[in-house]
Assembly symmetry: C2
Homo-oligomer: 188 residues x 2
C-alpha cells in the first residue's frame, strides 16, 4: 500500500497533464487521490509545493523512459528513431511540455526550473547521440548536431500541438515520421 503522499503526487501529476496548473485545484487533486484536505496540507505547504513535486515526478519519469529509448540500438539513427517512436499518447499532449504555456508556471521558478532542466537535458542528450553518429562515421561530418537536435525535439512537441488541434494522432505521426526521413537523409 502506497503512502498517501505518493497518491497525492500522482493525482497531481495526472491533473497537471490533463488540465495544466492554473485550472487544477487542490480539491480536484484531493478527490482523485482520495486524500482529505488535511492530508494534503500536512504533506505539502500548498498547491505550488505539491505541483512542483508532481512536475519533478513527471519530468523524471519521462527522462527515464527517454534514456531507455536512446540507450538501445546500435547506431545513432536507430537510437533517434527509437526516441521518435517512443510510446506516446499524442492526443493527451506532452506531460512536461504542456505546462510551459501556463503563466503561473513560467512565473514561478520552483515550477519552471524542472521543466527547463528537462528540455535542456533532452536537447543535449539528442545532440550527443548525433555527435556520436558523426564520430562513428554513420552521419555526415557537416551535421549541425545542435540544430538537428532542436528540430527533432520541436517535431515531437509541435506534433503534440498539431494532434490536439486536429484531434487526430495522424498529425503527430506525420511530424515524427518527417523528422525520421530528414535524419535518414544525413546518413553517410
Amino acid at each position: 500500500m502506497k503512502p498517501t503522499k505518493d497518491h497525492l503526487v500522482e493525482a497531481a501529476a495526472e491533473l497537471l497533464w490533463e488540465r495544466g496548473y492554473a485550472a487544477t485545484s487542490p480539491a480536484m487533486i484531493q478527490k482523485r487521490s482520495r486524500a482529505g484536505q488535511g492530508s494534503m496540507y500536512h504533506h505539502f505547504s500548498g498547491k505550488a509545493d505539491l505541483a512542483a513535486t508532481a512536475i519533478r515526478h513527471s519530468a523524471g519519469q519521462l527522462r527515464r523512459a527517454t534514456e531507455t529509448a536512446l540507450g538501445g540500438g546500435t547506431t545513432a539513427l536507430e537510437r533517434l528513431g527509437a526516441f521518435l517512436d517512443m510510446e506516446r499518447t499524442p492526443l493527451a499532449g506532452c506531460r512536461v511540455g504542456r505546462l510551459v504555456q501556463d503563466p503561473d508556471v513560467t512565473a514561478d521558478d520552483q515550477l519552471r526550473a524542472p521543466i527547463a532542466e528537462f528540455f535542456t537535458w533532452l536537447h543535449q542528450r539528442i545532440a550527443d547521440v548525433l555527435v556520436q553518429g558523426v564520430r562513428a562515421g554513420e552521419l555526415r561530418a557537416d551535421t549541425d548536431a545542435a540544430a538537428m537536435a532542436s528540430l527533432v525535439v520541436a517535431a515531437v512537441e509541435g506534433g503534440y500541438v498539431l494532434a490536439r488541434a486536429e484531434q487526430d494522432e495522424t498529425a503527430f505521426r506525420r511530424a515524427t515520421e518527417a523528422a525520421k526521413s530528414v535524419l535518414a537523409g544525413i546518413e553517410v
Copy 2:
C-alpha cells in the same frame, strides 16, 4: 473610437494568448477592456461566446499575416523562409497553438473548430507551396510535401514550447533555422 464590443474581443484575445481559456475570467476581460459586466453580457451570451469570437479574431489575424509571408518572394524556398522568419514573439507562445492544451477548449467545438481549421489551412497552404516548388523544378521531385509541411509547422509550434520552457528566444530560432536548413537540402 472603436465600439466596446471590439475592445472586449481584443482584450479577450490578449488574455487567451497570455493565460489560456480556463485561467481567464470575464472580470479580467472587463477590466482590461474597461467595459462593465453589463456590456459584456449584452454583447455576448457568456465567457464561451466571447472566447469563441476572440479565437476566430486571433486565428484570422494570424492567417492574414501568414498569407502575406507566404505570398511574397519568387521561389518556394523564399516563401517558406519568409514564413519561418515571420515576426513572432517566441516567449509569448503561439496565440492559436497555445489554446489547444486547455481541456475546456478541446471539449467545446465552438472553441476548438476555429483552431483546427487554422492548422488544417496552414498545413495545406505550406504543402501547396512545396508542390509548386517541385513543379517549378526548384525542389526535388521526390519531395513528400505533406510530411515536409508537417515538419515545418511542428518546428514553429515546437519552437514556441522550447523557447517558453527555457525562457530563451534562441531555442525558437534554433528550431526554425534548422527547418530552413532542411528545406535548403531539398533544393535541386
